[in-house]
């Protein structure tokens, strides 16, 4: 179970990194990139092949990111002066070209047989107690910051319909619950670690917290049900998402702490990934809130205005495409390290569209939303993988198809009910030009 949770967390974080790149390009600059997987592929292959040939792993990773950025430069130079739909077309093509090169240039990439037994980061690490504690401390710091951000988001939720009591009061009053729940999860993590059934675990992580998180804050009132009914659905949804996120994050945290303690490669990789995501996220936030980011947002809305005001639109688009590409390239390295075997089948266009789902789900142009989108996407994947067989008497193939169908359905519902994504700002949608 700990191993599984670690893998899940690695998936969440890798896709979060991958999607953060897309969010810079699409969410902030408005570039339609339908070939994001090309950057991931290039990052993965360059890193792996260089490190196989004896280049230190950190340099190989940097080279992977750099190559992905150069690919962005190439795509940008050839298409960014055209209308934006051309970029969409060209990026799809580039992604296929990159994958086909990986498939056919066997002298370099071994084709479908794939590349394996390449060096992995931190795999031979045998940390002593001080290093372990240090790593756990850094991890705790990052997760603490994350939870603090989550908390801030919930407690400043706008009280849309002026419903009483305010969301702020609700969330404040549920703080003890969150803390107690975190402790419960800790105990649960240990119980699961000792070997409980997986079905039971996911029922506990996914369903029970949702019910408790949404319900418990209302127990402070004399008529909890009446108060519950007064709140708009948005509030229940927000608290449910917050609780769910909280439980997944806590589980992942404890899984990694346990993994780091009895040091395993996966736990080390997860640690490295969490640190990378944190750094990338932090830098991206600084960038998009700087004057540089302001220009990007202006370009997203109206290129001509940015041009008329003396901004070199082409250069900004190029920069955005390159940085987004480099981030995806870094995600590619982690993707390869986590799989420990790569071949071109692992880099199909589906990945691009999963990144799109994550970005749109969380709310385009919102980095926190992208992180949340990745978490919800993969938690959904995991929860249905284990829950559905219990609930539905279908064979594996049909269940697989059913799960994808439900994702599509959920996206449609989300687009109808909340077209701006979970964390997007509704005001911005209703504003005309």
């Amino acid at each position: 179970m700990v191993g599984y949770l670690t893998s899940l967390a690695i998936f969440i974080a890798t896709y979060a990194l991958f999607s953060l790149g897309l969010n810079l390009q699409w969410g902030f600059t408005g570039l339609i990139n339908f070939g994001h997987v090309a950057f991931l592929t290039l990052g993965a292959y360059v890193t792996v092949l260089l490190s196989l040939n004896g280049v230190p792993i950190i340099l190989a990773t940097a080279a992977g990111g750099l190559c992905a950025a150069l690919l962005g430069l190439l795509i940008g130079l050839s298409t960014l002066r055209l209308r934006e739909d051309y970029l969409a077309i060209v990026t799809i093509g580039v992604a296929e070209v990159v994958r086909l090169i990986a498939l056919n240039e066997e002298w370099l990439t071994k084709g479908t047989r794939g590349v394996y037994s390449y060096p992995l980061p931190l795999d031979k690490l045998a940390p002593n107690i001080a290093v372990k504690l240090g790593m756990i401390g850094i991890l705790a710091g990052i997760f603490g910051m994350g939870l603090w951000q989550l908390w801030k988001w919930v407690s400043v939720l706008p009280n849309e319909d002026n419903a009483v009591p305010s969301v702020r009061r609700l969330t404040r009053s549920s703080l003890p619950f969150f803390v107690g729940y975190g402790l419960c999860l800790t105990v649960l993590a240990v119980i699961l670690w000792l070997g409980f059934s997986v079905d039971f675990g996911f029922l506990f992580v996914a369903v029970v917290p949702l019910a408790l998180g949404v319900g418990i804050p209302y127990l402070q009132f004399k008529q909890p049900i009446a108060h519950f009914k007064q709140q708009p659905w948005g509030t229940h949804g927000a608290i449910a998402i917050a609780t769910f996120t909280f439980s997944v994050v806590m589980m992942a945290f404890w899984a990694d702490v346990l993994g780091l303690w009895d040091y395993t490669y996966k736990a080390g990789l997860m640690w490295l990934l969490v640190v990378s995501v944190a750094i990338v996220f932090w830098r991206l936030e600084a960038l998009v809130n700087s004057p540089w980011g302001r220009v990007l947002k202006a370009i997203r809305e109206d290129e001509d205005v940015a041009k008329a005001l003396g901004k070199n639109v082409f250069r900004y688009k190029l920069q955005s495409l390159m940085i987004g590409g480099a981030i995806a390239g870094l995600a590619g390295s982690f993707y390869a390290w986590q799989l420990t075997f790569i071949n071109p089948d692992g880099f199909i266009s589906l990945l691009t569209f999963q990144a799109w789902i994550i970005v749109v789900l969380g709310g385009s142009g919102n980095n926190v939303g992208t992180l949340l989108g990745s978490l919800i996407f993969w938690a959904y994947d995991a929860a249905t993988r284990f829950l559905l067989p219990v609930l539905l008497p279908l064979d594996d193939a049909r269940l697989g198809a059913f799960r994808v169908m439900v994702i599509g359905l959920l996206m449609i519902v989300l687009m109808m009910w909340r077209p701006q994504g979970i964390l997007g700002k509704k005001d911005e949608l209703s504003l005309g030009r």
């Binding site: 960038l287 004057p291 540089w292 202006a298 109206d302 005001l309 003396g310 901004k311």
Partner: protein, 268 residues
């Protein structure tokens, strides 16, 4: 050339024009939108550009700013040829345009719309922001720009909307914001494309007042406008276009009483 440039004592020969366009041509397929058009804007003046719908006024604006590159002809601004420059460099030279239908960045705040416009910002360069976006030079610059933006908003009467989304402004307010935004670029010349279109009479007066005040502060204007009152009250000179060609140029009174102009507007 058939228009009476030489008759007027206050012409190019004496005051070197801030902006001058010579022999501009542009065709879209078979349609000759602008043919051999010449235009001069003298330093410190408010110059009008009128003509019936479809005369090519907005196309001319686009040519001047190189939003569309001319087939033939040249544009000189401040003594430098600008028809070969990309449009963002033209704006940085000190010539900024507004749009016929006000184009504000509706999902940014009113303040951000203005801050965006400031030229040559340190924090705009990726090389300055990617490691340390909160460095003092950037923070101080932002503070300075905020103060300047607040001043401009105060002067156009939008300070109460400073943190609102620009998309929530009314049509007239958007025109004002767009002008404020143009002002924020520290321009020498502002090209206004129909500043009074779709704006209520009170606000039109306000806009005219602002243009006059800014003109006294040393900014030159080139104004496309259909509203003759605005033209009469603002402009020192008026250029008339019809069917993509120069028709005449003169003072507003001259233009108003000119038979050719009346014919172009009203037909025979």
């Amino acid at each position: 050339m058939s228009y009476p440039l030489e008759d007027n004592p206050m012409t190019a020969s004496q005051l070197s024009p801030l902006l001058s366009a010579n022999g501009l041509c542009k065709s879209f397929g078979g349609i000759k939108a602008v043919q051999n058009v010449t235009l001069e804007v003298e330093q410190g003046k408010i110059v009008g550009l009128i003509g019936p719908n479809g005369a090519g006024k907005t196309t001319l604006f686009n040519l001047l700013c190189n939003f569309i590159s001319p087939d033939q002809g040249s544009v000189l601004f401040d003594g430098k040829p600008i028809h070969t420059m990309p449009c963002h460099s033209i704006a940085l030279q000190g010539m900024v345009r507004t749009f016929q239908v006000a184009r504000v960045l509706s999902k940014l705040s009113v303040l951000d719309n203005l801050l965006l416009a400031a030229p040559h910002q340190t924090g705009e360069k990726l090389s300055n922001t990617w490691v340390f976006a909160q460095r003092p030079s950037i923070v101080n610059e932002e503070k300075r720009l905020r103060n300047r933006a607040a001043e401009i908003l105060e002067s156009v009467g939008l300070s109460h909307m400073i943190h609102a989304y620009a998309g929530s402004l009314s049509g007239g307010q958007r025109k004002l914001l767009e002008m404020g935004r143009a002002l924020m670029t520290n321009p020498k010349l502002i090209l206004l494309d129909e500043p009074a279109a779709g704006v209520n009479p009170t606000l039109i007066k306000q806009i005219c007042e602002h243009v006059k005040i800014w003109n006294q502060q040393g900014i030159t204007f080139l104004v496309i406008e259909h509203n003759m009152e605005v033209i009469m009250s603002l402009c020192d000179r008026v250029w008339v276009l019809a069917e993509g060609q120069n028709l005449m140029c003169g003072t507003p009174t001259e233009v108003q009483s000119n038979a050719k102009v009346l014919e172009a507007y009203l037909g025979n």
